[in-house]
Each structure stands twice: as C-alpha cells, then as structure tokens.
C-alpha cells in the first residue's frame, strides 16, 4: 500500500482513514506493507510501515499538505509551493525501488501524491493497481479547477489503474465528471469510523466565555475544519446573519486556519455579526475536543466534501450535526440535518429551528449515537478483500 501519512503524523482525515482501514484489513488477515515518505515511529503492529526516504517526518507533515496540493506549509507557518513536488518525485523513485525487492498480490495507492509511484511500480511488476480516491483535485481546489499537474497525474493514473475506489458516490460522480472514467471501473467504499466511547462533559471547557453565555440561554453553533473555499464557510456566515436576526442569542464558533481566514473575518464584519462570530486558529487536543463539546450544533457546509468525518466525530461529543448534501458522509449518516450547500435560506432555517428545539437536539443526539455505536470499518474492509481476491485471480490467470 502506498500512502502519504499515518497518525499521529497526519495532517487530516486521509491519514486517519488509511490507518483505520488498514487496521480492519489486518483483522481480515491481510498482510500489508505500507510505504510512507518519511521515517518515524507510529507504534503500529498490525502492518509493516516502511519509510521510503530516510528523512524526518518534519520534512513532510505540516498542516494540510495532502489536501493543499499546491501549497506546502512548514510548522513555523512558512509556506512553499515547490517542495511538495520534490517530495513527490523523491517518493515515487524511492517507493518503486522498495517495491522491486518485494512481492505483492495487489498494489493499493491512496490519493494523488502516491499515484506516480504506483504507476512506476505497476510498470515494473505488472501488479494489479487499485487507486483509492479520498479526494480529487477539483474538491481540494474548491471552485477553481486546481493544479493542472495534479490533474494530469490523477487522470493518467485513473486511466491506467485496474480499479478505482471512491470514498463516496459524490466522489465517484466527480471522478466521472472530471476525468471521464467509465462508471463500472469505480467502486464506492465508504469511509467509516472507529467508535470511541462517548466523552463525558466535564466541568472545564476551554471556551469559558461560551460556557458562561450558554448558562444565560445562548446557543453555540460551530464549524471545525480548514478555512478553504472547499468548506463553504461564506454561506455559513450568511446563514449566521439570518439566524441572528431571528435568535439574537446565538454564537458562531469557527475553529480552523486556512487561506480564507481574512476573507471570512471581513465578511462577518460586513454582515454586522463580528460580535457573534468567534474565530480561533486551528486547534488540536483538548481545545479541538472542547469546541465540539461546547457546541449545540455542528455545521459542515462544504461545497464539496469527498467524505467528511467531522460530523461522525461530533457524535462522540454528544453534538448533533447539519451537513451539506454535497458530502460523502450525508450518504451514510441518517440521523442528522441535511442541506444543499448553496441553499442559504434552508441552512438558516435548519440552524434556527434546531437551536430553538431542545427536544429535536436531544433526539438527533441520541439517535445519531445509536447509529454511530454500530459503525465499523468491517463492511468496507470486506469489500476490499473481495476486490483484492478478484484482481489477484485475474492477474494469475493472465500470467
């Protein structure tokens, strides 16, 4: 398997999804070699994690690289555009060298950064190639087309691949629309989540101001994620304006960093709701968890979200969600509110109606938890095992 990151050295959902999926595959008796572009300790015992390049993780893992395909950000905040490309070339060559000395039944590559390496290995070994698409370039780029070089490698790899896995029907449709890949070559395998026990709502919360205002009857609506075009936050703020018109006792908490930060701050000022919209930077750990806990409603208004794990994460914190219908998660998660990302009227209506009905919030919270409790990667991993077997058989027949 070819991947770009694994927890705890991950920048976002890609690493988490790869980790949990592989864990489930290992439980299904799959032997996995997982090649990453850096050397670090993952404390993973269920598969063989192989560093492609003898370099520290700090050269690779920063905020959002796997998604921000045209930008590379160091831990000190400095950004560079080219380095990711160097990394990507270095990985391709190194990973294919490693593959020469090993035997695989199937090659499984996650997202565009590994696709070039995957093609090189396929060329050398003629091993069946499965691409796992967690997002396509037009998702990551939001409303613009994205980086032509990335699109080229996505397109080439998808044409060459033996089969493509999309994390949602939404992503499958985008692959067909962007790259004209035949529909029957793409299989949808939804992401899932490793269920954790519900968090207790302890006394302390990092957001003490909001905690305090809640005792005075205020409600908190939160978004937690990167501030990029893909995430649809301007519509969220326009809805916030309309909600505040009806329910002035509402705060909007926006937790995240990204290139849209300045624009969003400006927009809230322009809408006259700066006092009700609270921006924090990107948070990890307790401050990340407390944001979910303090919220009465979590909103994921994404313009295009290949899967979108955060609404499922919110469940463990007892927080119900409103998610955009243009997300993969909305295909599998029933007990949440759903809206088209462009429908500001309905988004405002659903937010206002939800925060004004405690019984609705309670029912959403309880039923979502029922749904969450039985989630697992098992189904997804079963589908992959079946697919591996089929390609292995086909490859053997062709030899």
């Amino acid at each position: 398997m070819l991947g770009w990151e694994l927890p705890p050295h991950n920048s976002g959902g890609l690493g988490v999804a790869c980790y949990q999926l592989c864990k489930s595959l290992a439980e299904n008796n799959m032997d996995i070699d997982f090649i990453v572009p850096y050397e670090a300790d993952h404390s993973i015992d269920f598969m063989n994690v192989i560093p492609a390049i003898p370099q520290g993780v700090e050269s690779i893992v920063k905020s959002g690289i796997a998604y921000d395909s045209y930008k590379f950000t160091y831990e000190n905040g400095q950004t560079e555009n080219l380095n990711i490309i160097d990394q990507y070339h270095a990985y391709s060559i190194a990973a294919s060298k490693i593959a020469e000395n090993r035997y695989f039944d199937v090659l499984h590559a996650h997202d565009w950064l590994t696709f070039r390496a995957a093609l090189l290995i396929k060329q050398k070994t003629n091993c069946p190639l499965i691409l796992h698409v967690h997002s396509v370039e037009s998702d990551r780029a939001g409303t613009i087309d994205g980086n032509p070089m990335v699109k080229e490698i996505e397109e080439t790899a998808m044409l060459m691949a033996d089969e493509i896995i999309a994390v949602s029907n939404h992503t499958k449709r985008k692959i067909i629309a962007d790259y004209s890949i035949p529909e029957d070559k793409i299989k949808v395998v939804h992401n899932s989540i490793d269920v954790v026990i519900r968090y207790e709502n302890n006394d302390f919360n990092s957001y003490q101001f909001l905690r305090n205002m809640k005792t005075k009857g205020y409600k908190v609506v939160a978004n937690i994620g990167r501030l990029t075009v893909q995430k649809g936050l301007p519509n969220f703020l326009r809805s916030a304006r309309r909600v505040i018109d009806v329910y002035p006792k509402t705060y909007f908490l926006i937790v995240g960093s990204g290139e849209q930060y300045q624009e969003l701050v400006d927009l809230s000022a322009e809408l006259g709701i700066s006092d009700k919209v609270i921006f924090t930077e990107f948070q990890r750990g307790q401050k990340w968890r407390d944001a979910f806990k303090v919220a009465d409603l979590f909103v994921m208004p994404s313009v295009s979200e290949p899967f979108g794990l955060t609404p499922l994460e919110a469940i463990a914190f007892g927080t119900p969600s409103l998610v955009s219908k243009q997300s993969g998660v909305s295909e599998v998660f029933k007990n949440c509110l759903k809206v088209d990302f462009w429908d500001i009227d309905e988004m405002s209506n659903l937010i206002a109606s939800a925060i004004s009905s405690d019984s609705l919030l309670k029912e959403l919270r309880d039923r979502a938890y029922d749904e969450y409790r039985v989630m697992s990667w098992q189904d997804s991993s079963n589908k992959l095992v079946e697919l591996y077997r089929r390609h292995k058989t086909l490859a053997e027949a062709a030899r």
């Binding site: 009806v246 209506n349 939800a354």
Partner: protein
C-alpha cells in the same frame, strides 16, 4: 340469535392536512401551513388526487358493484373530517362515490374524531368537540348518525369504553392484540370491563394483515393469496362468530397496488364466501345486535393498531413528538379565548396524529413503513416544520392580546 359465520369488514378512510416546508422565516409572516406547491411530496391536493385515482374510485366502483350483485354483502367504513374536507375541495367525484355506497343502506359509518387526533389523551372537552364535529359532518354529507365508535389509530382503553357507553354508543372498536385477549380469540363480540350497554369488537389482526401488509409480498409463503384460498381459510376457522377484518381503506390500490391483484381479490371474495349458506357479511352494528357478548375484556394500558408494540409509541415515543404535542395542547384554553375560528381550525388540523407519526424515529435507521408514509426526508424535518407552524399559532394568539408562555 344468528348462527351464521360473519365477515365484519371495516375500512378506515383518512388523509391528513400535511404541513408544507414551513420555515422559521414563515413564522409570524405567513400562516399557510397546509398549502404546499402541487409538485411537493407534502401537497395535500396532489396526494388526494393520486389516492383517489389509485384507490378510492376503483375500490368504490368494485364495492358498489358487489353491493348490487350480492344482497348479503355489507361492510362498515370510518371517514375523517379532514379527508371529507379535502374531497369536497379537490375530489368531489370521490365523495360522491362514498355517498353512493352509504345510500345503499348496507354501508355503515363509524364515529371518530373529525381531525383524526389523539385529543382523548390530552383534552376531554376538545375530544368531545371533535367527535361532535364529525357527527355533524357525517350527517350533513351522508344523512346518517353513527352508532359505533372508533378512536384514532384504534387507541383504546377502559376509560374510553366507559366514555363511549356514556355517550350511548352501541359498540367500540379496538385491536385484537394477544396480551389483551389472553386465551380468547378475537372472533366473538365482547364487553368492555366496567360497562353494561356497549360491545367491544376486536380486530383479527392476523387475517387483516394478510391483506393489509402481506398480500403483495412475494417472499410470503402464502403468496399469491387468492379470494378462494382466503375464503377457505376463514371457513376452516372453528370457534368463531364473526371475523373482524379491520384495515386502512388505502389497502386497496395504494398500499397494495393494482398489479398485486388486490382488486381481483376484492371482486371475488364475497362470491367465494357466500357460496356457503352459513356465511354472511355484517356491519359493526349488525353483529353487535345479533350476538350478545361472550366475555368481558379489560384494557388498562392503551392499545393501538400500530407497529409491533401496539401502543402509542409511534406517535408519542420520543422527545420531539412529546414536546410538539404537549406544546400544542398547552394552548387549548387560550386558543378558545380568541374566538378566532380559522385560528382554532388551523390548531385542530395540527392535532392530526399523522404529524406526530412523521416525527417517529423508532425505525428510521431501517427505512421502514414510517418513512414510506412520510412526505419529509427525515423525522427531524417533520418536527421542524411542525414547530415553526406551532410558533405561528402562538404568534396569532398573542395578536389577540393574549399572553402565551413559551
């Protein structure tokens, strides 16, 4: 004393006034909760017209033909005030076809609440008003006075039976649920506990559900069910006086589609059944008059005809449903002080049990029957529309200079 074995067929006709996609921005501005655009799933006009052509007209055509063909054929219906209003507005031909049935004198109408509400459990005065409204509407349109009572969703308990007796009803209908029956079977006339002058008829849910739920199920071991086979089953039952087949009218053509063969089944059932001269059909009043109660039955906890639980949990099983209905009935006193008849009528239309059914989350994860009947994508949307309409009702009350909490 009549020793014939009788089929007591009773069909329930109802449509609610569904609430349109009604947002927080409509509240206190528009009060047109029930006016969906025609292409919406919540369009009352579109649903009524669809069900009229798929079910009411074809079924009534067959039933009228059967009444003409077989002098022994008879049955009972209940028909709510809300659907009668809708038929007057959008499907007068359907209303006429029901009037033709009743005019034969062999189709009995059963009493209930006008608004198909659960008012009995929340406000006695409101409940009695709605029953009275229904009586008046039935008399106006059909010229008959119902003598047997059924409560919304067959929701029944001892208190209801005593109430019905006090109002001089001859009989009352309920679900023939096993825990209620114990060792007995539903195929006799019973007497409710603590009453003297009223009879209790219990639905034979196994035989009723063969038609209402299982008829078109190809995985059912008895599929396909023919009138001949069904009639044979019924005639094989020993220890029986009357077989109570109670179901939604829409079983014919809407829940079971025409291509399932349900209309052929209906067309042939009376002929098959009446081949034996010891068989007949009776209306609910006729069976009560001809057969004295064989035993007394007590129902402390409310029993309904819904879901596997047979309780009120399909309507009142989660916090959203309870909040919605409690809020609505908390307005009972204030709303009458307004003397605003159109406001009171809108409030009553919100009492229709269907609104609470749409908010049911019990089986939402399995995408079951609740979802099939709902015009909304989720129980949450149903709650949101309802609560926004409820708040508009509150707003209208306050416009009359009255204070409302919440």
């Amino acid at each position: 004393m009549n020793n014939k074995k009788s089929i007591v067929l009773y069909l329930h006709v109802h449509q609610p006034f569904r609430i349109r996609h009604y947002t927080v921005f409509d509240t206190a501005i528009n009060s047109d909760y029930f006016d969906s655009s025609y292409d919406s799933k919540a369009s009352n006009e579109a649903v009524l017209k669809k069900v009229t052509s798929k079910s009411y007209i074809p079924t009534n055509t067959i039933l009228l033909r059967l009444l003409n063909r077989y002098p022994e054929f008879r049955f009972s219906i209940s028909i709510t005030g809300t659907i009668l209003e809708q038929m007057e507005r959008w499907a007068p031909e359907a209303l006429r076809s029901f009037q033709e049935l009743v005019a034969t004198g062999r189709v009995e109408i059963v009493a209930e609440t006008y608004h198909h509400s659960l008012a009995f459990f929340y406000s006695m005065s409101e409940f009695e008003t709605q029953v009275q409204m229904h009586h008046e509407k039935i008399y106006e349109l059909f010229g008959v006075k119902p003598q047997v009572f059924r409560n919304t969703e067959l929701a029944y308990n001892n208190d209801l039976a005593r109430w019905a007796e006090s109002k001089n009803y001859k009989g009352i209908l309920a679900e023939g649920w096993d825990p209620v029956l114990g060792w007995r079977n539903p195929n006799f006339v019973y007497k409710p506990a603590g009453t003297n002058n009223i009879a209790l008829l219990l639905k034979n849910y196994k035989l009723s559900d063969d038609l209402a739920f299982r008829f078109s199920d190809r995985n059912w071991s008895e599929w396909p069910l023919t009138a001949n086979k069904y009639s044979h089953w019924l005639s094989e039952i020993n220890d029986v006086n009357n077989i109570n087949l109670f179901m939604d009218y829409e079983t014919f053509g809407e829940h079971q589609w025409a291509d399932s063969g349900i209309f052929d089944f209906l067309e042939h059932l009376p002929g098959e059944w009446l081949q034996n001269s010891n068989h007949d059909f009776k209306t609910v009043s006729e069976v009560i008059e001809s057969s004295p109660p064989v035993d007394e039955i007590s129902v402390e906890d409310t029993v309904t005809w819904a879901d596997t639980e047979r309780d009120l949990s399909a309507w009142l099983g989660n916090p959203m449903q309870n909040a919605a209905i409690n809020n609505l009935y908390s307005l009972t006193e204030k709303i009458h002080e307004t003397n605003d008849l159109s406001l009171i009528e809108d409030w009553r239309k919100l009492q229709t049990s269907d609104h609470f059914y749409y908010m049911c989350t019990k089986y939402f994860n399995d995408g079951d029957i609740h979802a099939y009947f709902s015009p909304y994508d989720s129980p949450y949307e149903a709650h949101i529309n309802f609560m926004n309409a409820y708040r508009d009702i509150v707003y209208r009350i306050t416009n009359h200079g009255l204070d409302v909490d919440g």
